[in-house]
């Protein structure tokens, strides 16, 4: 199989630019308001970034859940089917591949990690925390807790999301004097959290993606059931752990090729000198497996 050349950083940069292509926003200190902005992007890209062209699916999902109030006549009563369907369709196609190739915040984390420092391995149980963030901050709190007007809030955006602070909070407050006048405790909380995450990014590979990101949690659930699949040839793999050394998600791909932690950057495919790691679309791989099984029986 043809190995992917390591041009991933270029794809990540191009994706970040394409999703944030309304450059006048950076001059005006205002956000894009065109009709295409309701189109979800398959990554965590804050829709309040001055140049963002699309909608963050995690923000959109919280908005839908927060507005689901059957006791209020003015509530929209939408179940978030559009966003859930969109994420499920992306997941069924490619799983977490957008995390590895398209996500601007994932790209940012990889760039920050290049700062020279002692590097630390994140314990694997941290990966369970992202399901907690998804269940609590994206689903439960927006559905169950209401503000003074009777609506739910976007808890993850408000209290956690460092991508929003980086892509929207810092630039908008810097560019817009009206917003600057409103800065208070919440802003400093979010900037402090961003600084903490950035410190973690220097030490650990993609800490936000691995331990916090609710979008990664959703897409990761599809890794084992997506059309795009990873595969490891046990006969070729020597367990040399070169894949682990190069992996931005810090996983041993040979332990579970389609683990939910894998961001499908395909770094392991190019780093394995034995050619043991490969990727394919389901049909091709299943056919190959059937052929192998048939040869085994013969």
């Amino acid at each position: 199989m043809k190995k992917p050349r390591d041009r991933r950083a270029w794809y990540q940069a191009a994706s970040a630019l394409a999703m944030n292509a309304w450059l006048p926003g950076w001059l005006k200190g205002r956000i894009f308001q065109g009709g295409i902005k309701g189109v979800c992007v398959p990554v965590l890209n804050c829709y309040s970034c001055p140049s963002a062209l699309g909608a963050c699916p995690i923000g959109a999902m919280q908005t839908s859940f927060g507005g689901l109030r059957f006791n209020l006549s003015i509530a929209e009563k939408k179940f978030g089917l559009y966003v859930i369907g969109f994420l499920g369709a992306v997941g069924a196609l490619v799983g977490r591949l957008p995390c590895g190739w398209l996500c601007p915040f994932g790209f940012f984390q990889e760039l920050v990690h290049k700062i020279p420092s002692p590097k630390v391995r994140m314990p694997s149980f941290f990966s369970y925390f992202r399901y907690v963030f998804l269940a609590v901050f994206v689903v439960a709190l927006p559905l169950l807790v209401v503000d003074e007007f009777g609506f739910g809030e976007t808890w993850f955006c408000k209290w956690i999301c460092p991508a929003g602070t980086l892509e929207a909070g810092l630039p908008l407050v810097a560019l817009n004097a009206n917003l600057r006048a409103l800065v208070g405790f919440m802003y400093y909380w979010k900037v402090g959290l961003l600084v903490l995450f950035m410190a973690a990014m220097v030490l650990v590979r993609r800490p936000f993606c691995r331990a916090v990101c609710p979008l990664g949690a959703i897409l990761g659930l599809f890794n084992k059931a997506s059309i795009f699949r990873m595969a490891v040839d046990d006969e070729k793999c020597t367990r040399c752990d070169q894949c682990l050394k190069d992996c931005p998600a810090g996983i041993r791909i040979y332990e579970s090729a389609d683990t939910p932690d894998c961001v499908r950057c395909l770094k392991c495919v190019s780093s394995c000198k034995y050619g043991a790691v490969s990727y394919s679309f389901l049909k091709k791989r299943e056919v190959a497996e059937d052929l192998r099984a048939a040869r085994g029986r013969a």
């Binding site: 956000i31 894009f32 308001q33 065109g34 009709g35 902005k37 309701g38 979800c40 804050c46 829709y47 309040s48 699309g54 909608a55 923000g59 959109a60 908005t63 839908s64 507005g67 929209e76 939408k78 179940f79 978030g80 089917l81 559009y82 966003v83 859930i84 369907g85 969109f86 994420l87 499920g88 369709a89 997941g91 069924a92 196609l93 809030e153 976007t154 955006c157 408000k158 929003g164 602070t165 929207a168 909070g169 908008l172 407050v173 917003l179 409103l182 800065v183 208070g184 919440m186 802003y187 400093y188 909380w189 979010k190 900037v191 599809f222 059931a225 997506s226 059309i227 389901l282 299943e286």
Partner: protein, 44 residues
């Protein structure tokens, strides 16, 4: 079934997405997306 599961999931979620669009959810997402999200930037 294992081989069909991804296609079933793809069809199911594509159907959900279309249902959401037909129910007018695009407008809800758009209305949120074109306003500055004060929560996102830490001012809400």
């Amino acid at each position: 079934m294992k081989r069909k599961l991804p296609w079933v999931l793809l069809a199911l979620f594509s159907g959900l997405m279309v249902a959401g669009l037909l129910l007018g959810e695009y407008k809800v997402v758009l209305e949120k997306a074109v306003m500055v999200c004060l929560d996102c930037i830490g001012i809400g």
